[in-house]
């Protein structure tokens, strides 16, 4: 464990900009947005809560060219890797799902793999919670325990810093000149903040009635024919925001276009709420009704992933609650599944 002052963090990021595109969270009135770090950026805060955008966007890009003509090379590989500052535990938990989906099968996604290997994650403890945060119901603590290179725990004047990977260790070693020794007060402060945030999240969980992981076991399958789905889908406008904003949703679509005489194959995020998602060539659609597609989203998260990867594909980040124009609240849906309607 080390101590890093606010000024020294800037110094570290300054140095990192030579080899990384560095992104930091900045409050813009509608939430925290990742913006490129520059030395004249006046204020940024690695703490607070998860950013508006999910961390996945730095690893599985929302839209990217994946092939050109008949080339076997991977396009777009000349870009600098990304250093994300202020990633939160809920988003890091998302890697459990993404890694399984994109790296653990017969094929690896070379684009995602490269980003996972090259990008640098400087995560941070949450210093507060939003009303929609329910990470602890999904087994995630509001401070990172894994899947980071370096983690920051905000304390008076700066941060407690620890490495979580070989890459992180090497970086701290190379930065030893700007690191200080933490004292007992700092350690105590970190513990206090962590407890306070956990209390906030716990209060959210109790208020919203979101069930715990244990009681969710088998709930989707048990309630497969329930009217909950049609009822919850009444207000859904099929925008797909819940998918794009989710740190674990990874479904995508390939499409081809011509660009300056070259053929380009693009990959874009897709959404299982959209009508054509599972439609086959002849027009047959296994999920013609919107409620079936809403159910499918829950099946995938709370039935498919527990079965294939022993993990719920929900990290309790609450983004889908904030992002839904129809006010569909995943906590309520889960609550209804467990209480049989």
């Amino acid at each position: 464990m080390h101590y890093l002052s606010h000024d020294r963090l800037r110094q570290l990021l300054e140095k990192l900009t030579s080899s990384y595109s560095v992104f930091v969270p900045v409050e813009d009135g509608s939430g925290l947005q990742y913006v490129p770090y520059t030395s004249d950026l006046e204020h940024f805060d690695p703490g607070q809560v998860r950013a508006f955008e999910p961390l996945k966007l730095f690893f599985q890009r929302a839209r990217e060219v994946v092939a050109q003509d008949y080339d076997t090379d991977l396009p777009g590989q000349d870009k600098k890797p990304v250093c994300v500052v202020g990633a939160k535990a809920c988003d890091l938990k998302g890697f459990k799902v993404l890694d399984h989906a994109l790296l653990k099968g017969e094929y690896e996604d070379p684009f995602y793999k490269r980003n996972r290997e090259r990008n640098l994650i400087i995560s941070c403890d949450c210093t507060t919670a939003l009303d929609t945060c329910f990470c602890m119901a999904m087994g995630v603590k509001p401070f990172p325990e894994e899947a980071f290179d370096i983690n920051l725990s905000p304390v008076e004047g700066g941060y407690l810093v620890e490495a979580g990977s070989k890459k992180g260790e090497a970086l701290l070693e190379a930065s030893s000149g700007i690191l200080g020794e933490p004292d007992q007060d700092m350690m105590a402060e970190r513990g206090r903040t962590r407890n306070q945030v956990a209390e906030l999240v716990q209060a959210n969980i109790e208020e919203s009635g979101v069930p715990d992981r244990k009681s969710l076991e088998g709930a989707v399958r048990r309630m497969y024919d329930s009217e909950v789905w049609a009822d919850e889908a009444r207000t859904c406008v099929e925008c797909g925001a819940c998918n794009t904003i989710c740190p674990t949703c990874h479904c995508f679509l390939l499409y081809d276009q011509k660009n300056e005489g070259k053929m380009e194959r693009l990959r874009i995020w897709d959404s299982c709420l959209l009508k054509g998602f599972a439609r086959v060539g002849g027009g047959d659609n296994p999920r013609p009704e919107l409620w079936m597609r809403l159910r499918n989203r829950f099946e995938k998260k709370f039935d498919f992933f527990p079965e294939v990867a022993n993990v719920y594909a929900c990290t309790g980040c609450g983004r889908c609650i904030t992002g839904c124009p129809a006010k569909i609240d995943i906590r309520e849906v889960l609550g209804r599944l467990v209480s049989n309607g």
């Binding site: 008949y70 017969e106 094929y107 497969y224 479904c251």
Partner: protein, 274 residues
Amino acid sequence: MGNTTNPYSMVRSRVLKVVKETPTIYTIRLKPDREVPFDPGQFIQLTVPGVGEAPFTPSSHYRKPETLDVTVARVGKVTDRIHQLSPGDEVGIRGPYGNNYPLEDFRDREVLVVGGGVGFAPMRAVMYGLFDIVSSLAKLLYRGGCRNPSELVYREEMSRWFDRDDLNIVLTVDEGDETWRGPTGVVTTILEDLSLDFESAVAIVCGPPIMMKFSTLKLLEMGFSDSNIFLSMEKNMSCAIGQCGHCRIGPYYCCTDGPVFRYSQIKQYPNIWD
């Protein structure tokens, strides 16, 4: 497998020949720049440059990979453009993907193949595989059906199958016409009266979902074991490498865990036929 190459890049291929099987079903013969060897049951992604790609199971012989036939029904944007292809045109292929029929396991057993509509196409590749080992099969039966005689593909070749001593073949159409001398009725009607040892026989079924569903139910009723019914499932497949999420069946992805499934594997999951 740890593929480090680009899974989305394609093999450049030339159209050699276009056979108009029916007004809506064409067979396209392709010559890939490098061979794309496949096993019966596996599929490829075929790209019309700049338009898009779609999955097809090759209908040609798996032991002759220097060219590749795909039999394509015109049903949408990509297949419309495939039907406009002419000899000399350039297309892309990637694959093969998915699993194949475990044909070697079928030795010494009675094998029933049921194909419907454009499901004839993948079944032709399977039949080539079965013909290669037919002397070691206890029996080989083919039961095929389509809506009307004008929708029947591979007519010339099929007529030669009727001459084979090692194959028991019956074709039916839902609605006959003056040229039709075979039975009429949906394919399940010609599954009656089969003399097979149902408990140990193997069935391979491919066709439109409704045909697969009713054929499967019929086979079960006849006494086939649910683990001896092999189904070639059709789902929306975009990436073909088990990542894009479109083709899920229960805990499986059709593109990598299938497209060939034993009925026993998937029967417990809801809406598999939809």
